[in-house]
Symmetry: C2
Subunit: 421 residues, 2 copies
């Protein structure tokens, strides 16, 4: 085990150094060249679809034999449509607006100095993910487009698929003259490689974990490199007394039931004690197939409501289950969210503007919505064209993160010989 | 020692919780109220100058008895002029533009949703500093103005001074109705308190160390909370073949000798092998009292040049010493900086625009300057009105950091009942 650790340490070190060199080239690559490289990568994925599907079949056979759950098998599985979607995703990233070189602001100082803040890549991004092989293409493309080198570490069960996708990606970018090591795949299944990435300060600038809660928790716990991640999406919808009842039902049902497994799904519904028709709202939610666990007041409204335990208010179900509480107006709602929320996405439904503004200002979450479903928490829906993840941290980037969040800035000082008095 | 650690842990925990509550109030406080509170704090510092000076005399007597160095005693010492400057500094921060509430960008989506990114405070800032008592007022004011709660931990040798300044600050802000715990001072001298702050993830959002290299190194090493800091300022000035000789001399002398102890001071001078008059440049630097350590080519230019060792290229002297190397044009200069620089501030002197642009684009430092002294690396000089520090990290904020760097943003989603298809 110690020997394995040492091997992984030196592996990640040499990958990190190669990534740093590649990153220096990528930082200076033009938008046109990066776009051409990604177009070539997308074409290579399509062109090598047979090899990718064959590799995936290998992974699937091994995973079935190892008794992976049907849900995990589905995440691992590729078919022609999924490979085509993957290539289309890379193609879409190729055409996104390049953040690198953008001038954030410019100031002329009284001494004649011109100061510009200009976006530059972060450098080297480490992506740690689980069984979905499409992340290889998706994350690799986002890193490259933003001028960053990527070190990808996918799940061991998807190793053959990831290798095939990675080979296609690299073939594409090399054909346009960008470095082979712009996107590297950690080729060992040893879990010590993850530990080595998490402690590779100075070699990897930021780690993005993409996967379930246990992966993200481990990453956040062990990392000595900054992490861009969210752990929980315990999202609330608050139905105010002044809510439009039709919007209340539409938004609640959509926020909970459109897709229950996404991080933007509502987990807790808070209803103002003064809301006129809570019974219809809860009934509508139950009729979509949602299990409702409520406090005493909610249980009194509908016999199908079961009792919520104290843990329910802190639970991210990611399932067709909702906890529902009656609260005393917006103050009760905000106090509940401050205590139980996870700073991801929370929404208010109300026709009362000042109440909406109080909620938008007072709720400390990455995304706060008024009269809109929490399921809009997504980079695509935010017009970013893609998403590397959603951050519930407060530093650097918050909420959906795409290309801009993978950059930093530097200050350019343009003078004519100025010295400081 | 274990008992002390436990005490400090629970002390910092309770201070962190109090700070979180105060921060929630501060996040919602209007710019006018924060400004009024800081004006009152500035007035209180002036009004309580006798108590502050008496407390400082106590610290000075103890420090002298303990044999502190003259440099440290000078940093610790307050007099009427320094107290007045401290009050003026708080007053100046009161009138800075408030970043909180500023809309970074706004997007109208095809579905009618309006997305706004709005600046909000980071939350709770921990400041760890050494003997200068003015940091108590300065850092406390910047945190409050940006809507953050502050936990200040100054040097034990300045404890009486810090207590007196802190008491005045708090008196001012409380008089304007803001929470007493907006700015807290860690009142124990036990070094374990620093350790407790560094590991207070979830209670403290960011740590800003202000002090010498050993403090910053310890903070970066031990912290589990994000840190905003720079460790070294190994800054370079590169004199290109096409440099104007008068600018070359002016900028080099200013960058090195204006103040040798600041982090923006030049430490290494790189001269293009094709630069016409290196002898005059080195002579001018030596004549200002600078010790020059050079490579063989530089030694050959002037008998007063001593030999640079390999460590010199990686040394931040913070003194009237410079290392000087002859390099092969801009590529040699950029390679030297990439290898030995600390990503702080580097400058080029040249009249050739394309060369300047290559340097500005290619040098990976927080600040890259053309025909300007490296000593402009300062929040005040950048028009920020103040500075909490200079960051050489890549995440969140880079270069001089003032109010904006103490904020994050949240996304506001304004809808009219939208649900996600």
């Amino acid at each position: 085990m110690i020997e394995k650790g040492i091997d992984c340490g030196s592996l990640i070190r040499s990958m990190g150094e190669a990534a740093r060199s590649a990153g220096q080239v990528l930082a200076g690559a033009s938008s046109a060249r990066k776009a051409a490289a990604l177009e070539a990568a997308a074409a290579a994925i399509l062109g090598e679809r047979d090899a990718i599907l064959a590799a995936n079949a290998e992974d699937m056979a091994r995973a079935s034999a190892n008794g992976l759950s049907p849900a995990m098998l589905d995440r691992l599985r590729l078919d022609l449509a999924r490979v085509e979607a993957m290539a289309a995703g890379v193609e879409a990233v190729a055409h996104l607006r390049d953040p690198v070189g953008r001038i954030i602001d410019e100031t002329l100082r009284p001494n004649g100095l011109i100061l510009q803040r200009v976006r530059v890549p972060l450098g080297v991004i480490g992506i740690i993910y689980e069984s979905r092989p499409n992340v290889t293409a998706d994350a690799g493309a986002l890193c490259l487009k933003s001028g960053n080198a990527a070190i990808l570490r996918g799940g061991s069960e998807a190793m053959a698929s990831n290798r095939a996708i990675h080979a296609a990606l690299v073939r594409g970018i090399v054909s346009e003259g960008l470095p082979e090591q712009s996107i590297q795949l950690v080729g060992v299944t040893d879990r010590a490689a993850v530990g080595a990435m998490l402690t590779a300060a100075g070699l990897i600038d930021i780690i993005v974990p993409r996967g379930g809660k246990s992966l993200v928790a481990r990453v956040q716990e062990e990392a000595r490199v900054p992490v861009l991640a969210h752990l929980d999406g315990i999202n609330h919808v608050y139905i105010d007394a002044a809510a439009d009842p039709a919007k209340a039902i539409d938004i609640t049902v959509n926020a909970k039931m459109r897709r229950t497994g996404v991080c933007g799904a509502m987990e807790t519904l808070l209803i103002d004690r003064a809301y006129p028709d809570p019974k219809a709202l809860i009934g509508a939610l139950i009729e979509t197939g949602c299990v409702v666990r409520g406090d005493a007041a909610v249980q009194a409204l509908d016999v199908r409501v079961t009792a919520a335990s104290t843990e329910d208010w802190d639970t991210e179900y990611l399932d067709a289950i909702a906890s529902v509480a009656i609260v005393d107006g917006i103050d009760g709602a905000m106090a509940h969210i401050a205590r139980h929320g996870s700073h991801h996405t929370d929404a208010i439904v109300t026709e009362d503007k000042p109440t909406a503004e109080r909620f938008l200002a007072g709720v400390d979450s990455a995304i706060v919505a008024h009269n809109a479903s929490t399921q809009f928490a997504d980079g695509g829906e935010f017009g970013m064209g893609a998403e590397i993840g959603i951050s519930t941290g407060r530093l650097h980037a918050r909420g959906p993160v795409a290309l801009e969040g993978l950059t930093t800035y530097k200050w350019l000082v343009r003078g004519t010989g100025q010295t400081r008095p």
